[in-house]
């Protein structure tokens, strides 16, 4: 059973889209596996959507993984989006982790360019 399922989801404006299902747990125990799954997914498509809706448990290691893939995407001109941040433990976790307040990634001065905004 793989916790992280990746599927291609067609093309938009000639850009290859993919969707990575983040499973139910994004903790330090899964962090190594998560990193590999994120790297492979980012390699494969230009617009990567991370589906976080079913995540029930997430810790700092998991948050860092998502942040890292996003800024890597920014650096490579790829788009990384995340959906489902408004359900389950997410709102509370993002508040506690202080990520919802971010103005931008340190990688970019574009105000909108933050995974968590």
């Amino acid at each position: 059973m793989s916790a992280f399922d990746y599927v291609e989801s067609g093309e938009v404006d000639g850009r290859r889209c993919g969707r990575l299902h983040l499973g139910s747990s994004l903790t330090v125990a899964e962090a190594a596996e998560l990193r590999l799954a994120l790297m492979a997914a980012l390699e494969d498509c230009a617009v990567l959507t991370l589906d976080a809706a079913e995540v029930g448990e997430v810790d700092v290691a998991g948050l860092q993984g998502l942040c890292a893939v996003h800024r890597t995407g920014v650096a490579r001109g790829r788009q990384v989006l995340v959906t489902g941040l408004d359900v389950g433990p997410w709102p509370e976790i993002l508040r506690l982790a202080g990520l919802r307040r971010h103005e931008a990634c340190p990688l970019s001065n574009d105000r909108k360019n933050c995974l968590w905004l």
């Binding site: 903790t27 330090v28 125990a29 029930g56 810790d59």
Partner: protein, 121 residues
């Protein structure tokens, strides 16, 4: 799903008090009477937190902690130590073995829950 806690102590009264308190707070609790029994239980089960006494026959709390940290399943699992020895020496020893925190006996139920919350988000 409620968090599953493994409570380890050779004192049946302390074990009962810990178990009683945590169950009352909504946690699922499994009890073990010493380090050896705890390690065996840990291998077959999945625990979110281990609370262990320090001085126990067969296997003490420090050894249990070291063995759990070496176990792939418990590399990052919080481990709390119960002790009456609040000295710096113990803390260093416990931390070196991989303990997350400690709880100095005697403690009241409130304090126990407070410390559990500190390591189990």
């Amino acid at each position: 799903m409620s968090k599953h806690i493994l409570a380890v102590d050779d004192s049946r009264s302390i074990l009962q008090m810990v178990s009683f308190t945590l169950k009352g707070a909504g946690y699922q609790v499994t009890e073990a009477a010493d380090g050896q029994a705890a390690f065996e239980l840990a291998g077959s089960g999945n625990f979110n937190l281990i609370i262990t006494d320090l001085n126990m026959p067969r296997m003490d709390g420090i050894t249990l902690t070291q063995k759990l940290r070496a176990h792939p399943k418990y590399k990052f699992t919080p481990i709390l130590m119960l002790t009456t020895e609040a000295g710096e020496a113990f803390k260093t020893k416990g931390k070196a073995a991989g303990a997350t925190g400690w709880l100095v006996k005697p403690f009241d139920p409130q304090k126990l829950i407070g410390v559990v919350k500190k390591v189990l988000p």
